[in-house]
């Protein structure tokens, strides 16, 4: 598809535009935050712990629009920096797992046979264990670090993508345009990459956007359980975890990352739905 057509279709899809603008906004704010926030996300100041947001009627500390956390750190700063960490992790994990999943899915679907059977049984095993459990086990054994987190999430992430792409490959491989391509003398790689892969792009993009949101959630869950992003580095998960004891006294500590998390996941789901319209050549708008 030509780039200009793609842009035109993107601008016409409301769902896509809403999701996309929200994501761009979130990414930009988070990515640049370190240069314009006045507080450090990690240095604690125990004299100023659990202060209310400064716009609250009964006071608060100036310069903390979202208040401070149990260790006296600025919640907004931690929110943005933590978001940037989460987004980076989610982006890397999604990219790697989608690539592996698409590759495995195309190959197993197209060639079938014993290889397909073995890989699919491995997928079955991986899918039968709850993601969080598996991730917890791996992180518990390897220790919690950024790299281990990415490795774990990727190891789980490729499975569902492989399934989706495989189903598309199975559907397309018996269609006549694949026979036509063979008669033309196209190599197997060409058939996989140029003929079958484009037919899986829509599904892949939808899966990717859903998975991106999902990865942020899993990462948050792990951090909440203390197995994700190591403290004191902020992430939405460990922020919620830190604040949960003070939910009644200082709800802003938990609500701020909660809303940020919800908006981000929602934005990615919106974009995923929009992508379906954008990538369909039959949709002329």
């Amino acid at each position: 598809m030509k780039f200009s057509t793609l842009l035109r279709k993107m601008s016409k899809s409301i769902l896509f535009m809403v999701g996309f603008s929200l994501i761009v906004l979130i990414i930009l704010t988070c990515a640049t935050s370190s240069s314009w926030t006045q507080w450090s996300p990690t240095i604690s100041k125990l004299t100023e712990r659990l202060r209310e947001p400064d716009w609250f009627a009964n006071g608060g500390l100036a310069g903390h629009p979202l208040g401070t956390d149990p260790l006296g750190r600025d919640v907004l700063t931690r929110l943005l920096q933590g978001g940037w960490t989460s987004l980076q992790i989610a982006f890397i994990v999604t990219l790697i797992s989608m690539s592996i999943g698409a590759f495995v899915g195309l190959i197993t679907g197209y060639f079938g046979g014993v290889f397909d059977m073995i890989v699919m049984r491995i997928c079955d095993v991986l899918m039968s264990i709850p993601n969080i459990m598996l991730a917890l086990c791996v992180v518990a054994i390897l220790g919690s670090s950024m790299f281990n987190l990415i490795f774990t999430l990727t190891a789980i992430g490729w499975v569902s993508t492989a399934r989706i792409v495989r189903s598309v490959a199975l559907k397309t491989k018996h269609q006549e345009f694949i026979s036509a391509s063979k008669v033309l003398g196209a190599s197997t790689w060409r058939i996989l990459w140029k003929e079958m892969f484009p037919n899986a792009i829509t599904q892949l993009m939808i899966a990717a956007s859903a998975y991106f949101g999902g990865t942020i959630l899993v990462e948050t869950n792990l951090s909440y359980l203390g197995m994700g992003v190591p403290v004191p580095q902020p992430s939405w998960g460990n922020m919620i975890s830190d604040g949960r004891q003070y939910l009644a006294a200082a709800p802003w500590v938990v609500i701020a990352p909660g809303i940020a998390l919800m908006l981000t996941v929602l934005a990615f789901n919106f974009m995923g739905d929009g992508i379906r319209d954008v990538f369909d050549p039959r949709n002329k708008n």
Binding site: K2, M117, Q175, E176, F177, S179, A180, S181, K182, V183, L184, G185, A186, S187, R190, K194, E195, P198, N199, I201, P281, R282
Partner: protein, 328 residues
């Protein structure tokens, strides 16, 4: 007519294609074969159109695909330009594909919905390193013109076209590599009657223009009569009769051919009234367990004891009129 051996472009000897029927979930074992094509011998002369007719499931399409090695034959030889295609592998076979092409039955399924017309027709040019970039685009536009489409269609997607236009795109794709031989696998069966004639005329025009050789697979006898020079009639994986078009329609020898031809309505009410239909009893037997001897003996009006035991030889009954029947 000259000896077919001298001018044959493609020669098929003892071509067989069996599809295995397997049982079992993990360890699959073969329990039987579907004998889709069961020993074909024929040659296609340079520049001619050989029509291949027969009812559904008799192995016409399988024959076409086995010749082009889309299905690797179980046995037999396909001699094309001095090489046995059945023995060719990998890169050698891929290079040979430049000389033989196929036009598919379903113009809706045979074009990739995610590729533009330019990419579809340009694919063979890229695959065989014939043209790239601007040159490729020019060549695609030229091909579109040749098949009677607007050259500005290059950036459009298949779903924007009608069935007839899509089939023209399929024809352009087959022509892109300038092949010598094209298998037309029921190229008009999926089209409206009004469009069928256009595509037939286009195919004929292209044949004269580019000196093409066709294997034209169809079940519409009037269309086959119109376009073919010679016609082969298939029944249950075997060719039962093969001869010149006029000889076949005026003087069919095989009882199956006679029955087939008697089913064609004649567009003249006076003659049509006198048309006598030979109605065959029963159904086509399963190609998994074809009848002994002559495959047709279960439904043949002229059946003899010999037919049940011996497979009739495919022989020349005079004037290059080949037939496989004990009664002739």
């Amino acid at each position: 007519m000259a000896n077919p051996q001298d001018t044959a472009l493609i020669e098929v000897r003892g071509l067989k294609k069996y599809f295995p029927i397997t049982q079992g979930i993990i360890f699959q074992r073969k329990v039987a074969d579907v004998k889709a094509v069961d020993g074909l011998n024929f040659a296609i002369k340079k520049g001619e159109t050989l029509g291949l007719v027969g009812e559904s499931g008799c192995g016409k399409s399988t024959t076409g695909r086995a010749i082009l090695q889309l299905y690797r034959p179980t046995a037999g030889e396909v001699i094309f330009q001095g090489k046995d295609l059945v023995k060719l592998q990998g890169e050698e076979l891929r290079k040979m594909r430049r000389n033989m092409q196929m036009i598919f039955q379903d113009p809706y399924a045979s074009l990739n919905p995610r590729m533009t017309v330019g990419d579809i027709i340009g694919e063979p040019l890229e695959v065989h390193n014939i043209a790239k970039g601007k040159e490729k685009k020019e060549r695609v536009q030229e091909l579109l013109k040749i098949v009677g489409l607007n050259p500005y269609f290059v950036n459009r997607y298949p779903h924007e076209f009608s069935g007839g236009q899509r089939q023209r795109i399929g024809v352009a794709r087959a022509l892109a590599v300038q092949p010598d031989f094209i298998v037309c696998d029921e190229p008009i069966s999926a089209l409206d009657v009004s469009i069928q004639a256009q595509i037939i005329n286009l195919l004929e025009e292209l044949q004269t223009k580019f000196n093409l050789t066709y294997l034209f697979i169809a079940h519409d006898l009037s269309v086959v009569r119109h376009i073919s020079d010679r016609i082969a009639v298939m029944y249950l994986g075997k060719i039962v009769e093969l001869t010149d078009r006029n000889a076949l329609y005026n003087n069919p020898l095989h009882p199956y051919t006679k029955a087939l031809l008697s089913a064609v309505p004649i567009p003249d009410p006076v003659v049509e009234e006198k048309r006598e239909r030979i109605i065959l009893v029963g159904d086509v037997p399963s190609p998994v367990r074809p009848p002994s001897g002559c495959h047709f003996h279960t439904r043949c009006p002229l059946v003899m004891d010999k037919c049940k035991k011996d497979d009739p030889e495919f022989r020349n009954a005079g004037a290059e009129h080949w037939v496989a029947c004990h009664a002739v």
